[in-house]
């Protein structure tokens, strides 16, 4: 299990901000083996800083990161896979050589790195570009190579900062499949994203971060059931003013009236709707991650 607890980080200030900027104010969460953990939050909330601290690229002022019960060390991190937010590859280096080079930096022998590189290029669909310099590739393909660099050494843990940003839907699916495969193999995967529908679809657990603090964390199902349900009623051709005095809001779309509310007597609402017209839909709906997120960071 990867445990992150009570991370604090303040960046040194300049003349205009002598106290510096508080980036992390007690971030903590845990990711189990085989769990896909979505890390969401507004820009500047502290996602990237947290990931950099996990990867040892940045030092926390206080707090700890542990892996399998022990404090995370340099040798452990060499077995992690990392994709930083700002993509970095050697632009003039050839695709295959680049992936292989990173495999070797992670401690693989030349032969094993070569084999792993071949497999990955095949799976990610960049095999025919193996001898091209990275700068000759499209953005989507560069992203695939970037992912290959993070995956080549068969990492024990994956830490990916905005892996889906800038990808077309097909590339998103390819990347999602690759991550799910790793997860199925027992690898904990943490990734940050602004695409909440995607997070909701892929992740087992989610952490919402705002201004350096965790405002919500848990499984997607738990978060959704903990939030207030929304009652949604759709009535066709109702009598005018049928909803007067009922809670919530009514929107009109053609001859359909849609009532949404988070409080009130649902049975009373149903009775009024049946009397008013043809009820097409009546049901409680759990909030989407987007709604939870907006509520949490508000």
């Amino acid at each position: 299990m990867l445990e992150i607890s009570e991370l604090h980080k303040r960046f040194a200030g300049g003349p205009d901000a002598p106290d510096g900027k508080l980036a992390l104010d007690g971030i903590g969460f845990a990711v189990r083996p085989g769990e896909m953990y979505g890390f969401v939050g507004a820009n500047g909330a502290g996602k990237t800083t947290t990931m950099r601290i996990v990867m040892g690229v940045l030092q926390a002022d206080s707090g700890s990161v542990s892996w399998q019960g022990r404090p995370l060390g340099y040798e452990d991190r060499r077995r992690f896979g990392y994709m930083p937010e700002e993509r970095g590859l050697y632009q003039k280096m050839r695709v295959a050589e680049q992936i292989e080079y990173f495999g070797r930096l992670h401690g693989m022998s030349a032969a094993v790195a070569k084999k792993a590189t071949e497999d990955l290029m095949e799976r990610l669909g960049v095999a025919e570009r193996r001898n091209d310099p990275v700068q000759a590739l499209s953005l989507g393909n560069q992203q695939r190579v970037q992912l290959a660099v993070a995956l080549v050494h068969d990492p024990e843990v994956l830490v990916l900062d905005e892996p889906f940003s800038g990808l077309d839907p097909i590339a998103v699916d390819a990347l999602a499949t690759a991550l799910q495969e790793r997860c199925a193999g027992g690898v904990p995967v943490i990734f940050s994203s602004h695409q909440l529908e995607l997070v909701e679809r892929l992740c087992d657990s989610v952490g919402i971060v705002s201004a350096g603090r965790m405002v919500a964390t848990g499984t997607v199902a738990d978060l959704r059931s903990a939030g207030n349900d929304t009652l949604r009623v759709v009535v066709r051709n109702p009598a005018q003013g049928w909803a007067d005095g009922l809670p919530g809001t009514v929107t009109v779309s053609g001859d359909r009236h849609i009532l949404r509310t988070t409080y009130g007597d649902d049975q009373e609402i149903l009775r009024r709707a049946v009397k008013a017209g043809h009820v097409e839909h009546f049901g409680h709906e759990r909030p989407t991650l987007t709604e939870i997120f907006k509520e949490a960071v508000a």
Binding site: A12, R52, M55, G56, V57, L58, Y74, R77, R78, F80, Y82, M83, P84, E86, R87, G88, L89, Y90, Q91, K92, M93, Y101, F102, R104, L105, H106, V149, A150
Partner: protein, 369 residues
């Protein structure tokens, strides 16, 4: 293979495979070869084409063994005149009493003809004059011209190599910092491994260049024959140059890498490297001066002061004899300076290379915890 060697290998492979490297190496080799043959083409031994009309050839070869003479006989003075005017011959001896030339006679040839003619006539009259014996009471200056020439070539080569390779290290550091690839690298490597590997790798590339220059230079000198003028102790000098290059490169490249880690864009590299380039320039100018005056106070004193010594001492060694203890002392001081540069450079690099964005102030980095 550990991280540092992997990084170094990548640098070497990446550089050596570029067209710029291969073309650069070929041009340098051609240039060095040309320089080695130049004295032969321009200076070379003197050669004269001479003619005779009704007279004996003068034994000029005995008086000037280095020069070449070709003789031809003309049937009459008119034919000889024509040949002189056409430039076919430099001078024609007529009847053993006069010399035809086109305008003023070549100074050396004139003196040579007169004195050999005088000697021949006197010899015929039975008078023999023993030649004057020349005894030098000063230092052995036979190799001075060659030493000065070697030292001059050396200054230029060392200067270009140091500036070139140190700049490459700086560009490489900024490439990694600017593209943020350094974040992935530092998740698998220690900062000193990354900087060290880059310095070692590009240093090997520099040595490939330098060894090529020295090898082509020496081979061409032997082929052209000017190596006969080289002072004794050439192998020692070549070894010294290589060691001094390694020391100077280690010093300047480490600092270049460290300073470059303060900035995130290639355009800013020049401005952070300026102080370092200035130091190399000063070393260059003093070294150039030292080629003319290798035993002067300026050259002697600065040849002990690192990092200036890394260029000035090898130049002094080429331009004049330097006692071994002096070279050793200077080298020891430089090694200490290199170690200090490595410690300082690694610290700056480690603290600055992940701080992307605006230029990081050196003071902030040094003062930081």
């Amino acid at each position: 293979m550990n991280g540092l060697m992997l990084v170094a290998r990548r640098e070497i492979v990446t550089q050596v495979r570029t067209k710029a490297f291969v073309i650069g190496l070929l041009i340098t080799a051609a240039l060095v070869a040309a320089i080695s043959f130049a004295p032969k083409l321009f200076g070379g031994p003197e050669s004269y084409a001479l003619g005779t009309v009704d007279s004996q050839r003068l034994p000029l070869e005995a008086a000037a063994p280095d020069a070449e003479f070709t003789w031809r006989a003309f049937p009459d003075e008119a034919a000889a005149k024509q040949a002189v005017l056409a430039g076919d011959v430099d001078a024609v001896l007529v009847g053993g009493t006069k010399v035809l030339t086109d305008g003023k006679i070549d100074d050396q040839l004139g003196v040579l003809l007169q004195s050999v003619n005088r000697e021949a006539k006197l010899g015929a009259a039975g008078v023999s004059i023993p030649p004057l014996q020349v005894v030098s009471v000063g230092a052995d200056t036979r190799y001075q011209a060659a030493r000065t020439g070697l030292a001059t070539v050396l200054v230029i080569v060392l200067f270009m190599m140091l500036i070139g390779q140190a700049t490459m290290v700086a560009m490489g550091v900024v490439e990694e910092k600017g593209s943020r690839i350094v974040e992935i690298l530092l998740a698998t490597l220690r900062p000193w491994q990354l900087l060290g590997g880059k310095i070692v790798g590009l240093g090997v590339v520099g040595l490939i260049n330098l060894v090529t220059i020295l090898a082509v230079g020496l081979a061409a000198s032997m082929a052209s024959g000017i190596s006969a003028d080289f002072p004794p102790g050439m192998p020692g000098l070549v070894a010294g140059v290589l060691v001094w290059f390694v020391l100077g490169y280690a010093f300047f490249a480490t600092l270049a890498g460290a300073f470059a880690s303060l900035v995130s864009r290639q355009e800013e590299v020049n401005s952070v490297l300026t102080p370092l380039i200035m130091v190399i320039m000063v070393s260059y100018f003093v070294s150039f001066f030292a080629t003319r005056d290798p035993t002067g106070t300026l050259a002697t004193v600065t040849s002990y002061v690192p990092p200036f010594s890394s260029m000035i001492m090898p130049v002094r060694m080429a331009a004049a004899e330097v006692p071994l203890w002096q070279a050793g002392l200077s080298m020891a001081a430089m090694v200490v300076a290199v170690l200090a540069a490595l410690a300082f450079g690694a610290k700056v690099y480690q603290r600055a290379v992940l701080r992307t964005g605006a230029r990081v102030k050196l003071g902030d980095v040094v003062r930081a915890r």
